[in-house]
């Protein structure tokens, strides 16, 4: 309640101003009266129809502004009547008909010359009932959104002011004030108007480039809304739209809901509504209701002056601008320097002198004392100057060296937001010589997807002792993507409030290009190796497809024969067809497996169940295992954690390990050609796969096995294990080969479980 006196003060000011204006108006009135009584006794009648009742400040403000303007500018006398349609509370159709009949009766003796509607719901009302109330009377509407205007389809002699409450720009304002915000909370009620907001807000938020973690507090019961608002985290942006009706159908005044939300919310609250301003919200991109009222009055004046209303186009947003409440800014520690330049700041407090002149006096005397010290310090200054010259020279040398190395140096004060950077940074970020080197201009050149990372990394460095490194993409004017590495380090003894940051920008475009090329080549080699393994397996795989084809052919021929019978057994035929479908699916699966292995493409990471992958690999190798007389035993752990990776590449690794195991047993007696594959969750949390053969084991040159082009096989390329270990390392795992005590070799593949990867992040 701390801001109450000030808001009283505000209203008092307004009231005072109003009184003053009234005085002047009375004078004008007096003159006008004399003038008009002499000229002609014509009296214009304006009927203002408020959509809701007297409790809605928005329509009241529009009405007051319009009234003032009409009285100010009208040549003749204007009689203004007003009625409240109360469309929000009584929503039965009978109410509308009753109201229309009542208005016709009420104004039958003095029909209005112009009808003005205030509030969105009044437009469809007047479109529907004008003929019943006052046929052919021109209408000027206000408080109508573009969507509402389009859906109401008013006839051409209805014109007015269309207001687009600008959520987009309100969000822009919020993000400028809270660059570190991570969440967005949107609040709206459940009336038809509220629901229009819900839809629009969702669309706007989804189309925004910057994605915040968003919560929609839409259509909630009032008490639920209040309890949720109180729990909003500090790093959120809260936007309150309208709550005309809550989730249980209870009517509310949106401004009052906004006031409560602003009082309770731990995070700053914004809104695109004029009336909320002064009630605790920070502000937004706002249309003032006064300007809407004045603009509507201007239209009415033109109509009164005899202009055909059909020639007057509706006006959109006569006076939108960024508006903020200084008190709310201070409450949430938002910085004035972050505001857009054309922002109107309301409720700014009186100057320092006015408020605390005694304090200022004390400060001034302290200042005087300080000047004495300064005098003493001046003596020291000469000495310092000499040191400074040396320092400057050294700095120039360093800057030159850095530029030569294609490195930019920077220093940043988090408190003041000031950035110092070497001129070479311009070249790195493609900034022209006339653009100032600031945090914002540099950030604007960083690829939007990398901006959040860059900011987060620098913040990270400000919290921790160690330096932080991020690589970001920079779009220079030549349209080519350049990579810049940002290194940041904090300079503070006080870790919580590291305000001085410094670091370097280095152009690493060439390094990135080389890395990308190497990755591409690794992919190509991996693909070639898959193709070559599958080439070796081609006979076996053909057999795998041949099996279902054989079954299909036999079944189909059986069915054909069955159908030549006099009374074919259709049940049997159905079974046959079912078998054909099953077998066809089986063939399809083999083809699918093959195709995915043959496919060339980028790594695609997904959740991988290693047991499934082992089973699928054994299925693929089935025929090869049989023809090589190798027996496979799979001992797979139940409830094995899943891992994260590219299933095709991981299957390639498994395939290679199985092929190696089979190759190793070429001279093993047939009865002993056994491969045992285990899967298990290691104690470290990793997922392990062991492939154990009964071959000759590994010879002494163990460490050369992973070397490229080294092979122990006669026909081997010497790339299998090299590619495997590259793949596995890219998955954050490792692969080892050892001799088993019982003879033969064991290949152990270890991959991090998905949970570990999540935890590591």
């Amino acid at each position: 309640m701390g801001d109450m006196p000030t808001s009283h003060h505000y209203f008092a000011c307004v009231a005072q101003r109003a009184r003053r204006t009234c005085g002047i108006l009375l004078l004008i009135f007096a003159f006008a009266w004399i003038g008009s009584s002499r000229a002609d006794e014509r009296q214009e009648r304006v009927l203002m129809l408020h959509a809701f009742n007297y409790t809605f400040p928005a329509t009241t403000l529009i009405g007051d502004a319009a009234r003032k303007r009409l009285v100010d500018r009208s040549r003749g006398r204007v009689e203004i009547d007003a009625d409240f349609l109360d469309l929000n509370r009584a929503s039965d159709p009978e109410h509308e008909v009753r109201t229309a009949a009542f208005l016709r009766e009420k104004y039958s003796n003095h029909p209005p010359d112009v009808i003005m509607t205030l509030g969105s719901a009044a437009l469809p009302f007047i479109v529907k009932h004008r003929d019943a109330i006052a046929p052919n009377t021109p209408v000027v509407f206000t408080g109508v959104s573009q969507a509402n205007y389009s859906s109401s389809q008013p006839p051409p002699d209805m014109t007015g002011i269309i207001t687009e409450f600008n959520l987009e720009k309100t969000l822009i304002l919020a993000e400028r004030l809270q660059p570190n915000a991570r969440r967005l909370v949107l609040i709206a009620g459940n009336s038809p108007t509220d629901r229009l907001w819900q839809e629009r807000a969702r669309r706007i938020v989804e189309n925004r480039e910057r994605k915040l973690e968003t919560a929609y507090l839409f259509g909630l019961p009032y008490d639920v809304l209040v309890s949720k608002v109180a729990k909003i985290p500090y790093d959120a942006i809260v936007v309150v739209l309208t709550v005309f009706v809550d989730g249980v159908g209870e009517p509310h005044v949106p401004m009052e809901v906004a006031r409560t939300v602003a009082q309770l919310s731990p995070a700053p609250v914004y809104a695109p509504y004029d009336t909320y301003l002064g009630n605790g919200v920070v502000g937004g991109y706002i249309e003032t209701f006064e300007s809407v009222g004045s603009a509507a009055a201007d239209l009415m004046l033109e109509i009164i002056a005899g202009k055909d209303p059909a020639t007057l186009q509706p006006k959109t947003n006569p006076g939108q601008t960024y508006r903020v409440d200084f008190r709310a800014m201070r409450r949430w520690n938002l910085r004035e320097s972050d505001l857009p330049s054309d922002t109107i700041i309301l409720f700014r407090e009186s100057s320092l002198w006015e408020q605390h002149h005694e304090l200022v006096l004390v400060a001034l005397s302290a200042f005087a004392l300080q000047t004495l010290f300064v005098g003493a310090l001046l003596i020291q200054q000469r000495r310092r100057k000499r040191a400074e010259a040396l320092l400057k020279e050294s700095e120039e040398r360093m800057t030159f060296t850095a530029a030569f190395m294609n490195i930019g140096l920077w220093q940043f004060d988090r408190q003041t937001g000031k950035l110092w950077a070497t001129e070479h940074c311009r070249a790195l970020f493609g900034l022209g010589p006339d653009v100032p080197l600031t945090r914002e201009t540099i950030l604007s050149k960083i690829h939007p997807e990398d901006q959040v990372n860059a900011i987060a990394s620098v913040q990270e460095a400000s919290k921790n002792d160690h330096s932080a490194i991020t690589d970001v993409r920079v779009t220079r004017s030549d349209d080519k993507v350049h990579w810049v590495r940002i290194r940041a380090r904090s300079h503070s003894d006080n870790r919580d409030a590291a305000s001085q940051m410094s670091g370097i920008f280095a152009d690493i475009t060439e390094q990135k290009a080389a890395e990308a090329e190497a990755a591409l080549q690794r992919q190509e080699v991996a693909h070639l190796m898959r193709v070559s393994v599958l080439g070796e397996l081609s006979g076996a795989i053909a057999h795998e497809i041949n099996q279902p084809l054989t079954a299909i052919l036999s079944n189909a021929q059986a069915a054909l024969y069955l159908l030549t019978q006099n009374s074919p057994d259709l049940g049997e035929v159905r079974d046959v067809l079912q078998d054909i479908v099953d077998e066809d699916n089986r063939a399809g699966e083999v083809v699918h497996r093959l195709r995915s292995l043959l496919k060339k493409g980028e790594r695609k990471f997904e959740v991988v169940n290693i047991n499934d992958l082992i089973k699928s690999t054994i299925a693929l190798l089935n025929s090869e295992l049989i023809s090589r007389r190798v027996n496979v035993k799979a001992e797979l752990a139940n409830a094995l954690p899943s891992t994260w990776g590219d299933p095709i590449q991981l299957q390639q690794v498994l395939l290679n390990l199985f092929m190696n195991a089979m190759d190793a047993m070429g001279s093993t007696p047939m009865m002993q050609r056994r491969v045992v594959v285990f899967s298990r969750a290691a104690q470290t949390g990793a997922v392990e796969v062991l492939v154990k053969d009964h071959g000759s084991g590994i010879s002494a040159e163990q460490d050369r096995l992973f070397e490229a082009f080294y092979s122990t096989k006669n026909h081997g390329l010497g790339l299998g294990l090299t590619v495997c270990s590259t793949i596995v390392e890219a998955h954050g795992g490792n692969i080892t080969l050892t001799n088993d005590a019982a003879g033969g070799a064991v290949a152990t593949l270890s991959l991090p479980a998905q949970e570990m990867l999540i935890a590591a992040q």
Binding site: L553, S554, D579, I626
Partner: protein
Amino acid sequence: MFTVFIVDDDAGVLRGLSRLLRTRGYDIQSYTSPQEFLAQHDSALPGCALLDVSMPGLDGLELQRTLTAEGIHRPVIFITGKGDIPTSVRAMRGGAIDFLTKPVSDKNLLGAIARAEEEDTKSRQIHAELAAIQAKITALTPREREVLTHVVAGRLNKQIAGDLGTVEKTIKVHRSRMMEKLGVRTVADLVRMAQKVGISR
């Protein structure tokens, strides 16, 4: 009734082949492993074996050899997914009726089975005949069997009597009883019969 014993480790193929042949009126006994087949197979049933070449454990060719070694004269048809020449040559040398490649058309399969049926009938007739002869020979007394061997060897009654240390008259009695038991009238018939069961000089 003619039974086709199908052995294939692939359940789908086994079902397809079984169904195809069952609709054509054959009795089917199907096995997913050679071991199962060997354990349950009834060699007395007329029929043929349809064997997959490539199976885990014991392949089709080995199964064929095992059958031969155990004296089971079951006509064998091979069916294979990868029909290479060396394998087919080995199979045919081992006495296979046919060596068919998957996927196999009903025409080829039924043709091979028809030939197997013919072969099986023939071999069963021969076996039946031999068995009958064997049974008759078993019914002879040891002395009569001795006389039989000597007669087949072309010895005269007098020579046989000398060899066996008895008189010609006794040999004559044995000989006529033996001929009667074996159901042959002439020495030529006797020799032909003896050849069939492998009795010779």
